[in-house]
Each structure stands twice: as structure tokens, then as C-alpha cells.
Symmetry: C2
Subunit: 332 residues, 2 copies
Amino acid sequence: MKNENISIKEIARLAGTSVATVSRVINQNGRFSKETEKRVREVIEKYNYRPNELARSLRVDKAQVVGVIVPDITNEFFSYIARKIEVDLLKQGYMAVICDTNESLEMEKQYIETLKAMRIGGIIYVSGDQKIEPIKDIPAVYVDRKPEFVEEGQGSCFIGCDNYQGGYLAAERLIKAGRKCIAVVLHAKTIATQDKRLNGYRQALHDYGIPYAEELVYKVEHVGMEQGYQITKRMLESANQTDGIFYSSDILAIGALQYFHEENIKIPEEISIIGIDDIPLSARVVPALTTVKQDYLKFGSLAANAIIKMMKGDQEKRTYILSMELIERETV
Amino acid sequence: MKNENISIKEIARLAGTSVATVSRVINQNGRFSKETEKRVREVIEKYNYRPNELARSLRVDKAQVVGVIVPDITNEFFSYIARKIEVDLLKQGYMAVICDTNESLEMEKQYIETLKAMRIGGIIYVSGDQKIEPIKDIPAVYVDRKPEFVEEGQGSCFIGCDNYQGGYLAAERLIKAGRKCIAVVLHAKTIATQDKRLNGYRQALHDYGIPYAEELVYKVEHVGMEQGYQITKRMLESANQTDGIFYSSDILAIGALQYFHEENIKIPEEISIIGIDDIPLSARVVPALTTVKQDYLKFGSLAANAIIKMMKGDQEKRTYILSMELIERETV
């Protein structure tokens, strides 16, 4: 489907127009009719032409810029991924601009169009949702939450973690601490990721002979400290035997720590808790959070390398699934 | 100095070239000689011409995008400023792209050039340093750390806090808690801001009859949790009567909490500590951090409004200095 070799001349021929007009359409500069633009775009899309090489010839090189779309820049998990991408891009002479979508799928689409209009070289897409469309006309790498279309073998580059394993490790750790009534707090939005973690959790319960109870599965609409605090309060204020909680994000567990402190609930003596991510803050809070590490720095460096390869015109149709790792601290 | 009325025609006349060539230079698109470019740029600079209106005529509106430069996106203080800017820009139909410079002045310069090359509409510049140059050829608003040139009355728009007051409030609060030996931890880089905070601290000591001791002034090269941890360890491992510490950033104080926890030093019974910023995390840590609030959300909304005004061609040569406010929690 991808044809690296189609030239701007051929695009002009196929669209029935001049090279100069194709250039104007690509650069969105100067005059051309809507109809001409439509024909040019159709050819570009059909042959998957990437206008990088043109942009590269500009004197200040926008094509060396990568757009990094993240759902929540106020969450360390994403700000550290973005930082790592920046640092690794810079080593090879590329720069990053970050687009924070505040968990809005609509904003993600807007940013993709805007980044394309700015004629940058590529996009690293850390979506807040798995129901996204593949990005066209520009190299793109998908990170963290696996888009649905990736499963269909469309030859995209995706970098993520083994979320089933993450759920299993977390639940198993709580079980081994003698916990019997283990709640799980999931994010309502990122269903594919969350389903895998839930399946891992269920499998661990099953393997250790603990019955699964649907009423122990909680969901939050947004992942933040406040949501972690509130869901924990709601959970424990109802008559409840919960003695272990698996939070599907460190930031939720860290928010919960404040509730336990206020209510004088001793962690881990009365309740054991575990997170996922291993953001830097997890090691800093009191008590330090036991968690399952996603190697988000590796997300960043793999993504930076992959997008540079693609921007240079190489194929990089790989799916990287990283292992997760239990990090022992003080809350289990 | 600024002439809002110069037209692209006049620029062409003054540079001795055609309107089409001026347009090509501005858009960095198509052919022109280095010499022509130099002449055009000189005229543009001399008359402070802003090519926005041209960019606005493009079909996808890069001119509606604002570049937000921040020194450390992993610090909540900056990520929440960026988020607030985004949200407020969006209300009026503008978008933000974030450039994280990782505290590098060199990167700040690079990003400014790159953002200009992308022909975005304006820049909100939260610098990690006060030794910066004014941004030319494009509307710019300066936030948080006051650039040196702002003092020279060049008519820029700056938004910051009363740092002298912040230092005073912090030291006074520790003094009122009965503390006599009050250390202060400053950032070595942002000298103007830090000097003002130090002066406020000194004035408070003076007003309450406590002698100032230079050996109680500590500096960190970088503002992060690890640095807060390390400087506190170094401070308290030497024989030391310190009974109060004023950290010039919440994130330093939050890092220190871990040290106190490990060493079983009771806060505030043995040592009182206070931060500056009031980032969301301050209210979440255990014990919750007493701090002096910088209204960083107001930074964000003022900056968004100012840059939009400027992008519309209005003057906005104001300096906003916001008051700081003591936030009582559990560490004093």
C-alpha cells in the first residue's frame, strides 16, 4: 500500500495538474481550487505519499519536529514519557512539541490536523482512547494504549506493555500477602488496556482459588489523585470487607493514601494497596507505593527511535509489547 | 517602535523587491536569494512587522496556535500552568503546543526559532532563566520569571508574582511558630526571583529581631524531589540547629518529606517546613505541606488572554504582579 517512490511529478500527472500546484496544496500556500485540492489529496492518500522530503528542503526545518500527543500532561506518567522522547529525539537532532489533550478524543483529532498543517515531520500518538483512526499522510507511532486498528495488522508501529501480565502480577502480590477480598479500580475509558488488566487479575484470583466478585470492580471516569481519593472513600464507607486494593494507575493509589491517612487506616497493616506505572512520585510518597512498573522511559526511547526511522523513510511496522515488573515498596 | 500599520507592499518597496518575494520569505517557501531575504528581514525587524495576518489567510490556521515554552514539564507547577493556558485558549478557539526545555536556555532559543518557522501565532514564554532576549517578529507574553529586559521598560507583557512578599510570608510563618534557626533553600539559576525571595526572608528575620546567617542559605542547581531530599540530608547530617526550613519550591519540600520519614524526624514537632507554589500535590502528601501560594492558574488565564489580544493586533504592554498567599496545612 505504501509507495515510497512516487514522485511529486507523478502525483501532478495523476491529479491532472502541475507540480507547482501540488506543492502549493501540500504546503497549503498560495492559490488552488477546492476541486484541485481534492484530486491532489486523493492521489496523495492513494499512494500514501509523504511530503517530508519537500518540507526538508525548507531552510528552517519543521520536518525535524515531532508532535507528541498525550492525554494528560499533569500526570507524571505522561510528562516523563514526553520528556524521554524529547531527550532522545534531541540526541539525533530532532525536536518535540507536546500536545496535551486533557483526555479529549476530539482534541486529539484537532491536534493531528493542526500538526499536519504545521508540516512537522511525524507524530508520536499517546492516545487517551483506543477508538482512534490511523494517522494518514505523515509518519506516526502509537504508544501505551493500543488502538483497535493495530490488531487488524495494518502495519502500524505500536509500543505498549503486557497489561494482562500487569494485572496478574498486582493481584498475585496481594494474594501472597494473605489478602482475600481484593478490589480493583479501573479507568472507565481505556477499555482494551483495562480489560486486559482485569483479565490478569481474574486469572490470578482463579489460580489461587479466590472467587471473583463483580462488586469489587470499581471504575473512575478520570485518572487523578482526587478520583483515587473519592473512589476509595466510597468503597470503604460502605460496609466492606476489602483488605487489598489494586489501582490501575499509581496516581489513583497516591490519591488514596491521603484518605487512609485522614481515616487513620494503617497501610499495609489493615489494607494492602498496589498501583501500576511506577511513576517517580511512587517512590517518594509515604508510605512508598508498591507497584507494577511499566517501563515508560523505554516507551519514550523506542518511540523516538521508531519515528526517526520512519521520518527517514524506513519501514517500522513493529509492535513492541514490554514486560511489566513488580516493584516492592511499603504498601503491601 | 512598533508599527502596526506597515503593509506588505511597503515592506516590498523598502526592501527593493516584489510583494510575492516578501511573502515567500515570510513563508519560507519557494525561491529567493540570501541577500533578498536579508534585506526583507531587516525591514520586517525595523518596523516590527508581524506576519500573522498573512498566516491567518491560510486554510488550516497555524496562526491560531500558541507555543508555550516551559522549563520543566515534569514539575506540576509548570504542567498546570500549561494546562490552564490550553483550556483558556481553547475557549476562544486557539490551541497550544507545549515546548519543554528541560531547564536549558539553549533549547529555549531553539524552540523560539522553530515555533517561528512553523508560523504559529504567538508564544507564551515561561523561561527557566531571566537572562533572555525579547522575542521578535511574533507576539510574546512572559510568565513567572521576570526577564531582565522587562525592567528596562521595553513595553513587554509580563505576568509574575510578588516574590519578595512570598519570602517574607514564608519566613514570618516559621518565626511565628517559634522557630529561631531558619534555613532557606533556593534555586541557583533563577537569580532575580530567588534574590527577591531571599530579601523577603531577610526582612522578616530583621523585623522579628532574628540575626541573618549566610550559612543557612542553601542552593540547588535543579528543582526536583531528589534535590530536595539530598540538600535536606546534607543540611541535617552536619551538626546543625536548624528548626525551620523554607524551600523555594514545593517540589523540593515534598522531596524532603521522604528524608524526614526515613530518619523519623517529626514534622512539624521537631522541624517546621514551608514551600512556595501550592501545587496540587502539596495538599496530597502526608503531612500536607504548608506553603505560600503562587496563583499559577491565574498566570495561565492572564497569559492566554494577553496573547490572544496581542495576536489580534492589540497592545498589551502590561506587567501583572500577583500577590502571594499563605496556605496553612500540617508542616508548620
